[in-house]
């Protein structure tokens, strides 16, 4: 004889994690559902959350589409393209800052800060606001299911500092990052290319602010990256800037050169240019319109696609250079490439598609929305990482070589670019003076030969070497890059076993202490935010419970004892009343009381359901 197990009480959700594409222009999340990745979007709306933050004079910052609407009216307090500042110093982004209306300063450790309403914000804090919004949108579209676990993507060509900054931003947003994944590599996962036996794939990823190209090979369900190349200063924004230049020049002639410095004007031109660029992907000609009522400016001009292509040809050329470098590093030729995948909104530009197809002599994949494909792939990786999928594996590489500064300012490379991660390497060093008790190490990342031309990741000192003649000490320095592409360094003197206190203080990055302080600060605000959110959720929940109770109570009244009915009616009235309050504790209490009072009703209903389920079946059937 069998028995039935009513699974109505078991509502523990299976573990899952979000895939988040934190983009220069737009951000979005995706999740694995029913055997495939899907993007998470509010009903009837686009999944893309513009990576824009507006700070009203009073009140909480606004993120996304609503924030973008403030760009022209309040440009100084509306932040675009914050990703360009992640892990960078003022010197690195001088060019970007010249065309943006923000007030920027630098901390003594070279960390950039944007000043808004007299308050200073790091790019990490600003990105955290975007991540919180994306997370919120995602959880809402999942019907309020909460998860803080996620995979976040970064451009493949991001260096160690930029990756760390992304990780810190996620920590500030209260997210638990399972993995930082390279965008183009993630994109390859989204296309289901693992279905093929074996093949070489090129991912061409032209995003809002960065360009990446990745060459990978697929075999036995393993995606192995062979080479990656790119440019962290090349993206759709640059195409907009070329068009914007056209407008600036012509308008300055008509209205005098002073107008180009107006921040409202700058934003209007930017947005007009972006609009024109998008129109030109489908039309051979489009209007370029700049309208700033405050400046009594209403400028209009026709732009042809040919004109746009000529203005941006060198940008496309630069992406093709990177393609050649990546193929050269992978030791492959164009004819050995089986598939090409286009990623990033700017890969929609017709001239880009034409050049890619011509270069590889093959039609690229464009079936998936190029703006969603990275998030979709991140969701696949997230699913793998929570243990949902074991038939697929991604082996990524480190995009830039890592090394140490040697005497005379040269670089000794310890890990070569395009090494598969996780990876490790050990290098031996010795002392150059008698009785030398310490050695300074300077960690560098980049391909150039001189330390001054590479990115400085930090310095550390090995102390406590016992006095001995020069050249006798045997110091081994070990580099380890983990699966996130993040570096740790250790040093040890072999004869004595002295290990270094390795405190790699990242340049252009937050220290652990700073992250802690920021977290504390955000918790203070967070309590208020959290309460407001909780009140909203509780009200919705009570609404549903009231509806269900009223629906069933009349029919089931006969089966309940009088006391239970009175108790339930009382709790229902109190819960209804509580929804007009804003006190989270009072609402929570009313809701809990209400739930307790519905228990007899729920038990009765469950019994009825069970009886119905058993009706017409003999015992032997169940």
């Amino acid at each position: 004889m069998g028995y039935i197990e009513l699974n109505v009480l078991n509502n523990t959700a299976p573990e899952f994690a979000l895939g988040i594409d934190l983009g220069t222009t737009n951000s979005l999340a995706a999740v694995w559902r029913d055997g495939r990745p899907i993007v998470l979007k509010p009903e009837g709306k686009s999944a893309l959350v513009p990576s824009v933050i507006h700070f009203p004079r009073d009140g909480q910052p606004i993120v996304g589409r609503e924030a973008r609407d403030h760009a022209v009216v309040d440009p100084r307090n509306t932040i675009f393209s914050v990703k360009r500042f992640m892990g960078r110093g003022l010197k690195d982004v001088a060019q970007e800052l010249a065309s943006l209306p923000y007030k920027a300063t630098e901390t003594e450790r070279g960390l950039i800060q944007l000043e808004i309403h007299g308050k200073k914000y790091t790019p990490e804090e600003l990105s955290a606001l975007i991540l919180m919004k994306v997370h919120d949108v995602a959880c809402r579209s999942l019907g309020g299911v909460e998860t803080t676990k996620c995979v976040i993507t970064v451009p493949a060509y991001f260096d160690d500092t930029q990756r760390q900054a992304t990780r810190d931003a996620a920590r500030l947003a209260g997210l638990d990052v399972l993995r930082i994944v390279n965008e183009p590599t993630a994109a390859s996962l989204a296309y289901g290319l693992d279905q093929r036996d074996k093949g070489n794939v090129v991912v061409y990823d032209l995003g809002g602010g960065t360009f990446d190209v990745t060459v990978l090979t697929i075999e036995d369900g393993v995606f192995r990256v062979l080479a990656t190349s790119g440019d962290t200063h090349l993206g759709g924004d640059d195409f907009d800037q070329r068009l914007a230049g056209l407008a600036r020049e012509s308008i300055a002639k008509e209205h005098g050169p002073g107008i180009v410095d107006d921040p409202g004007f700058q934003q209007a031109v930017r947005m007009g240019a972006e609009h024109t660029k998008i129109a030109l992907t489908t039309d051979p000609e489009a209007d370029f319109h700049v309208h700033v009522p405050e400046l009594r400016l209403n400028w209009r001009r026709r732009v042809t696609r040919n004109e746009f292509d000529a203005l941006t040809k060198d940008l496309v050329d630069r992406t093709m250079d990177a393609c050649r470098r990546a193929l050269s590093d992978a030791k492959l030729e164009t004819r050995t490439i089986d598939e090409i995948v286009l990623v990033g909104g700017s890969s929609r530009i017709p001239a880009v598609r034409k050049r890619v197809e011509h270069f590889f002599e093959k039609k690229p994949h464009t079936e998936l929305n190029p703006e969603e494909v990275v998030a979709l792939g991140a969701a696949v990786q997230a699913h793998i990482l929570v243990g949902g999928k074991r038939d697929m594996l991604l082996l990524d590489v480190t995009p830039l070589s890592l090394g140490l500064e040697t005497m005379g300012g040269a670089v000794s490379k310890i890990i070569q670019r395009n090494s598969t991660i996780p990876c490790e390497a050990t290098e031996g060093f010795t002392t150059y003076a008698d009785n030398q008790t310490g050695i300074d190490f300077h960690i560098l990342q980049g391909e150039r030969e001189l330390a001054a031309d590479c990115r400085s990741l930090g310095r550390f000192k090995l102390r406590g070497i016992p006095p001995m003649p020069a050249g006798m000490a045997r110091v081994s320095v070990k580099f380890h890059i983990n699966a996130d592409g993040v570096l740790t360094v250790g040093a040890k003197e072999q004869s004595t076993g002295v290990t270094a206190k390795v405190e790699v203080q990242p340049m252009h990055g937050l220290s652990d202490g700073e992250v802690e302080t920021m977290l504390k600060k955000s918790y203070e605000h967070a309590q208020a935010d959290f309460d407001a959110r909780r009140v909203a959720d509780l009200k919705t929940e009570i609404g549903t419970m009231v509806l269900n109770t009223e629906k069933h109570l009349n029919a089931a009244r006969a089966g309940l004892d009088k006391e239970s009915v009175l108790d339930l009616q009382d709790a229902l009235a109190k819960a209804k009343q509580a929804t007009s309050s804003t006190d989270v504790k009072a609402i929570q209490k009313a809701r809990d009381e209400f739930e307790r009072a519905t228990l007899p009703l729920a038990a009765l209903l469950m019994n009825n359901v069970a009886q119905k389920a058993l009706m017409g079946k003999s015992l032997g059937d169940v």
Partner: protein
């Protein structure tokens, strides 16, 4: 071959057990052949090596140990790095030969730096051709295309000689190891010139 300490199954490689899918503790001095469970030897089947590495990676990649105990997670991370390093060495003809020479007590690259005079004269000649080609613009100089072919042939010849010297593996301290080291050093000169030509080719392709 030893057995898994957890489930006693015979191990294909010391980094993990294919049966119980657990990463195993690995000593620091285990060499690349042993890491991948291969018998040492210069000749290697590239496809077999690759498939083996993919198979092991699928067992021990940290991606699959997110929910595991932290000790296993750390082991997965470290062993994956060891497997990747072993693959990097063994899949490259030059690095593999270099490792074999060092493991058999042969001279390291610093110890045997002296190159024959005639060879160095040739190197000077290549460099002259490279200098001249750098001064020209537009396309890749036809002389460089010729030089590239010549250098590639010499590289292949040096590798063939290394293969015959290392098959079967010489005994520890054999004089053959010195000859292999000299060949490897000549390949370093060839590779430096070939890299120069390749970066010149990329730069020329980018010239507009």
């Amino acid at each position: 071959m030893t057995a898994c300490p957890h489930c006693n199954t015979a191990l294909e490689t010391p980094v993990s057990c294919a049966a119980c899918k657990r990463p195993l503790s690995l000593a620091d001095d285990v060499g690349p052949f042993d890491v991948l469970g291969l018998a040492p030897g210069y000749a290697i089947d590239a496809q077999d090596l690759r498939k083996r590495v993919l198979r092991i990676s699928r067992d021990i990649h940290p991606d699959f140990f997110g929910a595991a105990a932290s000790a296993d997670r750390d082991l997965a991370e470290r062993n994956s790095a060891r497997v990747n390093k072993a693959f990097e060495i063994l899949s490259d003809d030059v690095e593999r030969a270099d490792w074999i020479v060092r493991s058999l007590g042969g001279p390291d690259e610093q110890a045997e730096r002296a190159m024959p005079r005639e060879f160095l004269m040739e190197v000077l000649e290549w460099n002259e051709t490279l200098e001249e080609a750098r001064a020209t613009t537009d396309t890749l100089d036809p002389r460089l295309v010729g030089l590239r072919g010549e250098l590639a042939n010499r590289r292949a010849a040096a590798l063939a000689s290394i293969a015959s010297l290392l098959t079967p593996l010489p005994t520890r301290g054999s004089s053959k190891l010195l000859v292999v080291r000299q060949q490897l050093n000549s390949i370093r000169y060839l590779d430096r010139a070939l890299t120069e030509i390749e970066s010149l080719r990329l730069a020329r392709a980018a010239t507009r």
